[in-house]
Subunit: 222 residues, 2 copies
């Protein structure tokens, strides 16, 4: 019993150190970008030794990849669950486009509200990666294409007459609007003189879903 407690404590500490580095890296990469942050800055902010970052992740780039992957897997699970819940609820009737869009976007709203600052940093980082020519075409497909394909299938089923290219381009527009929204850059606050607030994700999401649904309907339903 004593032994077990001891072992658990040690393991937790190790795991915690690694997680602390990931948390710190996530936060700083989100603010200043990959090249704008040094490994020293990350480890200092995490309260661990400089050398540990390379020990755990081999290189700065390895650390970056680990940051991206960590929450991608979790987010994919949430999205999958949301889609399956839709299908269960609908039974034999076909899914609505709106329900599919909501299943794709709602998990981000939930994580941003319930998941704390870590998830907010992660979404900010994803927005930047998505729009980067260096990473956007390579990293995101790696982590997200399988689940996106699953949603594309659902959309195809919901709109059987849809043109295939239109379907992909509509997803592309969704992707751009969604990632910018959850990046919470404050741009719209400035433009609207404070009327709209980037942080009020509930308000944006309530508009995002019908906006995107209308776009899909216009291009993919005949």
């Amino acid at each position: 019993m004593n032994k077990k407690v001891k072992t658990t404590t040690v393991k937790t500490t190790k795991g915690e150190r690694k997680q602390k580095i990931l948390d710190s890296a996530e936060r700083l990469f989100a603010i200043k970008g990959f090249e704008g942050v040094s490994v020293r800055e990350v480890t200092k902010n995490a309260g661990v030794d400089v050398a540990l970052a390379n020990y755990y992740f081999n290189s700065k780039r390895g650390l970056f990849d680990a940051v991206l992957m960590r929450r991608a897997e979790i987010l994919n699970e949430y999205r999958m669950e949301a889609l399956e819940a839709c299908e269960r609820e609908a039974g034999d009737t076909p899914l609505t486009v709106e329900a599919i869009i909501d299943a794709y976007t709602h998990p981000l709203l939930d994580r941003s509200h319930l998941g704390g600052a870590g998830w907010k940093s992660y979404f900010s980082l994803i927005a930047q990666v998505n729009n980067s020519p260096e990473w956007g075409g390579i990293m995101l497909p790696r982590y997200y294409d399988p689940i996106v394909r699953r949603f594309m299938d659902a959309l195809r089923n919901a709109m059987p007459n849809s043109n295939e290219e239109n379907l992909y381009w509509c997803y592309h527009f969704l992707s751009g609007a969604l990632t910018l929204t959850f990046a919470e850059t404050g741009r719209i606050d400035h433009l609207s003189n404070g009327l709209c607030k980037s942080k009020d994700l509930e308000a944006v999401h309530a508009r995002l879903v019908p906006f995107i649904t209308a776009g899909f309907n216009a291009l993919c339903q005949e």
Copy 2:
């Protein structure tokens, strides 16, 4: 006469050096981000001396600002002309939402096609700035808010019953979809197994306008 030619030649050379630095910076910042590029790299690529970057732009950050501003002013003029052409053409009849959206987005398509690689780099850079929490809420408003407000007025006129917040959020969705599109990241090429091509901006734009228009109509027309 001789004197005038001489002076002109000198001025051109100076201007060319400055422009070469801007071109090189624009290209490299677009690929690797602000922090990912060194001033040495920029000047080496431009074929000029290292010290000239600081001589002309005071600092690396000053160079970055100059890159952002240079084409913003030109783009704003093109957009303004496009909107005024719409208004002239419409005469007394109210503008359609689709025409306004097209006036806002079409200048990007034209510049990307006719403007060469410089404009493509610029749009890629804008996409990254737009999604950055550090710059998105500060730099873009500075250069683009006046013209965006002008377009918001036009949209308000076209949809007199529209809710003010909805109008701003719809613009926000447009902004995310538009900047990602002109960043040409190659993401959709991968996802669609080559069916859709990021570089085929003509094809995307033809879908972007009706997609966004449908979104505006759904939220701002009652």
